[in-house]
């Protein structure tokens, strides 16, 4: 039998401590399973996600980056998630010019109770990046 090696994308997840990380914890708590491709980095707030982190992740071999924030109105620091959205929206326009597909850098919202949503988002992310294939930089 001939082995076919499936492409396993490397995904970096930047999760806010107060909502999304708790949401990921919830996914574990309910014994849910989701693709193992995501490496989670916990931050105090999604507003801490500097676009530099995203570019550095790509530079160091990530095929996709997902930023998960609190829902609007729920941010522990009032508007950190709004800043994350503003940065992500501007960065997305730049990434398009730089030839990086928008599916490779996503922002979404997961509350502490949304373990199911967390599972779904990660599964979607892994699937869409798997279709795109590995990110080839010209470094």
């Amino acid at each position: 039998m001939k082995d076919t090696v499936r492409f396993e994308p490397k995904i970096i997840g930047f999760l806010c401590h107060w909502c999304s990380y708790a949401g990921a914890d919830k996914a574990g708590g309910i014994q849910g399973s989701y693709p193992h491709n995501v490496k989670i980095i916990r931050l105090m707030c999604s507003g801490r996600v500097d676009p530099l982190f995203v570019l550095s992740a790509f530079e160091k071999g990530a095929d996709g980056v997902i930023i998960l924030a609190c829902h609007h109105g729920d941010c522990h620091y009032k508007e950190g998630n709004c800043r994350a959205l503003q940065r992500h929206s501007m960065l997305s326009l730049m990434l398009a010019q730089l030839g990086i597909e928008k599916e490779r850098c996503r922002l979404d919202y997961v509350s502490a109770g949304e373990g199911e949503k967390f599972k779904r988002l990660i599964s979607e992310m892994v699937e869409s990046v798997s279709i795109l294939g590995a990110l080839q930089l010209n470094l």
Partner: protein, 329 residues
């Protein structure tokens, strides 16, 4: 008589502005001439490549190398100047970060040549000729140096001892560097010199208050207030993500900083830092009770004013940015 240390200024893919900056030393040029043997500068004097080749290795004390590396000839000259110089300085934003020539890294070479020679309103080229390769002339064959696939900055090809930023570097800073060199007080190798370590805002004397921008505006739309921070007036002034040392001449002339001194000390990617900074000063109004889709649409509507964020934020540093240009070209 003790021999004066040799000074060379070479240009690769550049516009000549760095040479103008050297000439703008004005009467200080006489002091440079008194202290150094200014012996090579294709823009200003008639020394030839073969004269440089005939020098012993490391014969030139300091070479100010400006321009990005666009062609194979540029690469050849970069290696030659490295070999013949004790100190090789990436002089100006092209040699330091790629600058305007490196904006070509947003596209492929064939697309670039097509835009220049074929799909161009000011060019009449019915035969569709794109200059390349070898052409026969009665005097002999002429060969055009091939373009590199990707524009590089100097340090991507040879070892660089110092970096002097600016498009072009400010003359007073060039003089500072020459004085420091003559005094034997240059800092450790690899340093960026002839500049500060903070941001242009530090040099800019406009009044700065809390920044909440309700709309991005562009230069042609209005006359900015002369005393108030340009960013607070909605112009995308790059001062917040740009190294100081220039003395902020642009903001003094009521024009926003476009970022020519590159990222401040310790900042890796100027474009990413601009996004980080602007993302926290945009004011999209009260969003209480609005759905995620509506908020997202509001942010996107805010952003449509500016057509080219990458070109704006990486105008001087694309070659040295993290991604270096368009990926998978």
């Amino acid at each position: 008589m003790k021999q004066k240390p040799k000074l060379a200024v070479y240009w690769a893919a550049s516009c000549g502005g760095c040479e103008i900056a050297v000439v703008n030393l004005h009467e200080k040029l006489l002091d440079v001439d008194a202290a150094m043997d200014f012996m090579f500068c294709p823009c200003l004097m008639d020394t030839k490549k073969k004269d440089i080749e005939s020098l012993p290795d490391r014969a030139i004390a300091i070479t100010l190398f400006n321009g990005a590396l666009r062609t194979e000839e540029n690469i050849e000259m970069a290696h030659l100047m490295r070999k013949k110089s004790q100190l090789l300085v990436a002089f100006g934003s092209c040699a330091k970060g790629g600058c305007i020539p490196a904006l070509a890294n947003f596209t492929k070479n064939n697309e670039l040549l097509h835009s220049i020679y074929i799909d161009n309103h000011s060019v009449d080229n019915p035969a569709g000729i794109i200059p390349s390769g070898t052409t026969a002339f009665p005097e002999g064959d002429m060969q055009l140096t091939p373009l590199l696939e990707r524009v590089k900055h100097l340090a991507q090809e040879v070892e660089v001892d110092y970096y002097i930023p600016g498009c072009p570097p400010e003359p007073h800073q060039i003089w500072n560097v020459i004085e420091t060199f003559l005094a034997g007080e240059l800092p450790s190798k690899g340093s960026t010199i002839g500049c500060g370590t903070l941001t242009v805002c530090d040099d800019c004397d406009r009044t700065k208050e809390e920044k909440r921008i309700t709309a991005f505006r562009r230069n042609y739309e209005f006359y900015p207030e002369p005393e108030v921070c340009l960013l607070e007036q909605g112009l995308l002034c790059m001062g917040i993500a740009t190294r100081n040392g220039c003395g902020a001449p642009c903001t003094k002339a009521n024009m926003p900083c476009t970022g020519c001194y590159g990222a401040p000390e310790g900042v890796g990617d100027q474009g990413a830092k601009m996004v980080a900074a602007l993302g926290s000063v945009m004011d999209i109004g009260d969003t209480a009770g609005l759905s995620e889709e509506v908020i997202s649409e509001r942010v996107n509507a805010f952003l449509t004013t500016i057509p080219d964020y990458s070109g704006l934020f990486y105008k001087y540093t694309l070659a040295s940015s993290i991604l270096g240009g368009r990926v998978g070209r």
